[in-house]
């Protein structure tokens, strides 16, 4: 157990810190760009779904980034601890950070007299984690994080124009009063994480 904690600490320091910093910058920008005080229920959903969800891309897409450097991949392969176990550790703490960012943001909105509930937290988090899962999946299977970023950002842009076409996978449903899509987003994220790990384990380890 202590080994895994050590791995988490070292990864956090060397790999995740810049991405976490960027996610915090996005969270700060969200509060400046959107007003977060005195918003009603549907208005409160907007900053969470439409902007803070980008932190999912920033935190989850680069999970495989370090090993995309051939030298590091060779080194990691030679170690006793499974490479995918390290990626899983990174994924777990990144998801925790994502939840943490959404949690703090929702609490701040609540203090600013906005009408937010646990549903807002869950809904925003679901959009964020799905965007991140898309980036994670494509970065993982193509062994290239740039493709991961591209796919997730294009999907994000598509949500502004393809509301009806995206059906259960529409990211901004809470702003128009629907929550059912969020279950689909959460479930699909889990599926994308699992498939990415399976593909990498089978074909590219």
């Amino acid at each position: 157990m202590s080994n895994y904690l050590k791995i988490a600490a070292v990864n956090l320091k060397h790999n995740t810190a810049p991405h976490l910093l960027l996610a915090i910058v996005i969270a700060l920008l969200t509060s400046v760009i959107f007003g977060i005080s005195s918003l009603n229920e549907s208005e409160s959903a907007q900053p969470l779904e439409m902007f803070l969800s980008l932190t999912g891309i920033v935190l989850l897409t680069p999970i495989f980034l370090p090993e995309q450097n051939e030298n590091i991949r060779e080194l990691v392969r030679s170690k006793r601890i499974d490479y995918l176990a390290i990626c899983l550790i990174r994924l777990v703490y990144s998801v925790i950070f994502l939840a943490f960012i959404f949690g703090i943001f929702t609490i701040i909105m609540h203090h600013c007299e906005s009408d937010v509930t646990i549903q807002h937290f869950t809904g925003g988090f679901a959009s964020g984690i799905f965007l991140g899962a898309l980036g994670f999946f494509f970065a993982g299977i193509t062994n290239n994080s740039i493709i991961g970023y591209m796919v997730s950002i294009v999907y994000y842009i598509g949500n502004f124009m393809l509301k009806d076409n995206l059906k259960h996978w529409y990211l901004f449903s809470m702003s128009s009063g629907n929550f059912d899509e969020k279950y689909w987003l959460l479930g699909s994220s889990a599926v994308l994480f699992i498939i990415a790990f399976v593909i990498i384990k089978k074909f590219r380890k």
């Binding site: 060397h14 959107f34 007003g35 450097n69 193509t142 740039i146 796919v151 842009i157």
Partner: protein
Amino acid sequence: MLFFKECKKIIFSLIFVIYCIVLSGFYFTQFSNDCQYPLEKPHEGQTDYGTISKEVPEIIMPSAIEGLVSEYLSGEFSAYPYGFYKCVKLKEKDKKKLVEIITELSGISAETLENFDNYEPSGYIMGEDGNPVYTNGNIPEINIPPMLTYDDFRELMRKADKIIGGGSKYSDENIVSNFSQIPKTYEDALAEYEQFCKDDKITGAYARLFCDYMGIDLSILPVFVAVFLAERDKKSRMEQLVYSRKISSAKLIFTRYISLVFTMLIPVFITALLAYAKVKNIYPDNELDKFAILKTAVYWLIPNIMASSAVGMFVTEITSGLISIFVQGTWWFASIFASSELTGSIRNFTFVMRHNSLLGYDIFQNELHTIVFNRLFFTIISVLVILLNAVIFEMKRRGVFNVKLFENRSRKSET
């Protein structure tokens, strides 16, 4: 030849395939979707011809002043400073400044505003029979001073907008569309349709719509392609190999840049041809300008591709691919959401130009000088950025510029 080698390298890369898929996806779901039926000619006797924003002082002044008083009494101002809704609550000192403006505009004294406690917003409420009923609301009586000119009114509204923080209903951009919507007459609608057929030759209007949709994508997608290729070279340590070659840095960087822009234009031109075919299909008997879509795509979209690619190449050269994507993403986001207007809001430095309408030929013509400046500006800036990229590349080659800002820390991973 290096140019063809670079083009081949790009065309056979995975990122270029994804770029083409995304671009064609955008074309089919957006533009193509809007070209199902021809624009209908207005007929006399229609119940509704739509509305039009016309700057009529007699309409704007009373309704905007009423809106300002109403928002002041409610204590909340709606604004879209960055394209997204923001509920603004003013501090005491700003409230005092705004009260002075309201008094000047409406003749309502500061005391009346202070002591008015029967405020009711206008809007629809549920009537006794269960149907919505419009109520006028309740605000103090407004008496616009006869000496107040329209110019003074606009100046005071500008000040009010500044106090609110910009992007409010009273800003120069929004005041006319918010407070002076008048119904179009049959003659207005017919004149617009005639313009669409004769001045625009139909394809001119569709060319703007095509570029409006494709411009959204082409202002961000090229950065991914540029970063992907730059990062791939770094990964395979091509730099070391290239450094030792005879070719000049300027020639190498410019050739790479031109091949990037050239290859990314290929799917744009293909979709432009498809767009023409689509328009021809729904207007088989009309006279069309065959090259309008292609011509507009050249001057409208090339600067977007150039700027986005230049950012991708340059920022990756001095920092990392991730920072490039962040920089371009922020620029794209700021440009897209800077204006709430989808038509008629092109400024000198608007990166993503919008004109999401088949009508509005005259609006576009009025903006033409701005558009020419705008597109030339981004073209020149892109070339300058690439020139700077070549200089830095040369310095690195000579070992002068070896500091890499924000270098990917993963290289130092201890895992």
